[in-house]
Symmetry: C2
Subunit: 274 residues, 2 copies
């Protein structure tokens, strides 16, 4: 039987709850909080280091196998009362399963990116739900990894974790606080770097032959797109040719289409003559 | 100066708030509630009939032009106190602009679908945020319209309206409570009907020549996909060939890629040989 926590004033709970509040606190401690039975299980199965697992008695009945899998990898396990679990939850109807995970401190610099694959780079992406959704799609399509450029929102925020459906744990990501420097480096490493822009004068993404060359496709902020200097630093500009109301395409849908086009030839689009 | 509402017990407010609670109430009255300055303006600009516009004094300062545009089309306008506006809002920090709109009662049956264009059909889609996001992408890519098959979630729910960014007001949609019947009708109307399935044995969507034939692409429920009978009724099965973790692709991302492929040749993908 695990130890029980029944007080909302318990220091372990208070510390775990603080991890939801800001990226700074997460970075300072090198920890983040994961909510949800399936997501906790995914963290364990992906080899993430789990410091603490919390679950309610109700959750143990309902999510027995998920919890057992996460508990196997956890250093410490607590059963918590429902009113205590509520302090850790972002949702109105919490499942009652949470774990505190250690950030992967391995070097995540652009210069360590394995060559020979295609990557997506995001510049100043603001919405964690968009970030999570994009990671999820990138994983599905077999993208090599994602570069977080400029000041993107935190990949370890509860919203990004949830929207990623666990892709955060599995997909390699790299940090590029200085986008211009990163693009220079990537081009030196022989990547083609394309800036995605909503400009009908740019090259249609359908006209690029991604098959010949490892590529980094760079997508900008939801409201403002890419910085002018970032676009200038790239080897080319690509756009999604659209017949409809172009301003309607949101960040995660356009990233999905761009990544799809980048992977299309490799995924089986080669044989088609149109 | 518009009339003011300062009581939470005001009958007009109580009726408007009820429109958020269920699809049945919306259908019964033929009305729905729109929240947000931009979305109310979009409704007015899209020719939606606005029965009532509500806004707070604070909102009038901040969203003057949006409110003026919506007020021009509204039958009645009220200024409401902030604590009254809170009753109408789904968000924690409401903008304080709302309107009650009349549903378009024009015939939306499958037999009235204009031929000669490509359409997306959704079967039993459950998540209104997915539905809204898909409508938004469909509009951007220039899809002819969307068919809501089986028992999809309500297109007029606050979440669907918000995620659609106004596409609900502009994109034609059609109701097909009986999917099998609708597919038969669509095939009689000479549409090619393709079932989207997560099955590597199905035809890759990249291998279909959509350019030759008006097509309806049918996408299933988030958890369970398409009904077996629906798949059998179609002229073919298509799939998105993926190199990564296929289960990761969510409903709105896969719909985006499928719609993109359907429109690709027309949008400018014709010239590419890969």
């Amino acid at each position: 039987m695990p130890d029980q926590i029944t007080s909302r004033k318990n220091e372990i709970i208070k510390q775990a709850a603080r991890l939801c509040t800001s990226a700074e606190i997460r970075r300072e401690h090198g920890l983040y909080l994961v909510e949800g039975a399936r997501l906790c299980r995914d963290a364990a199965q992906s080899g993430v280091k789990i410091e603490t697992l919390f679950y309610t008695a109700q959750a143990e009945e309902k999510y027995k196998e998920y919890i057992a899998s996460a508990a196997d990898s956890a250093q410490t396990v607590y059963e918590v009362a429902p009113h205590v679990a509520a302090l850790l939850s972002e949702t109105k109807t919490p499942q009652g399963v949470f774990c505190v995970c250690k950030m992967n401190r391995a070097v995540r610099e652009v210069r360590t990116i394995p060559v020979g694959r295609h990557y997506l780079a995001l510049e100043n992406l603001q919405d964690p739900a968009n970030l999570g959704a994009i990671l999820r799609t990138a994983e599905a399509l077999g993208i090599g990894g994602v570069i977080l450029g400029g000041s993107c929102c935190d990949i370890y925020s509860p919203k990004a974790l949830r929207a990623s459906m666990g892709a955060v744990f599995r997909l390699p990501f790299f940090l590029a606080p200085d986008m211009l420097c990163a693009i220079k480096l990537l081009r030196d490493m022989n990547f083609a770097c394309f800036a995605a822009v909503p400009d009908a004068a740019a090259q249609p993404v359908t006209a690029v032959n991604f098959h010949n060359h490892p590529t980094v496709l760079i997508v900008g902020n939801e409201g403002n797109g890419l910085a002018k200097e970032t676009i200038q630093a790239c080897s080319g500009r690509v756009t999604i040719p659209m017949l409809g109301r172009a301003e309607s395409l949101n960040a995660s849908a356009s990233a999905a289409i761009l990544m799809w086009e980048m992977m299309r030839a490799e995924s089986g689009g080669v044989s088609v003559g149109n």
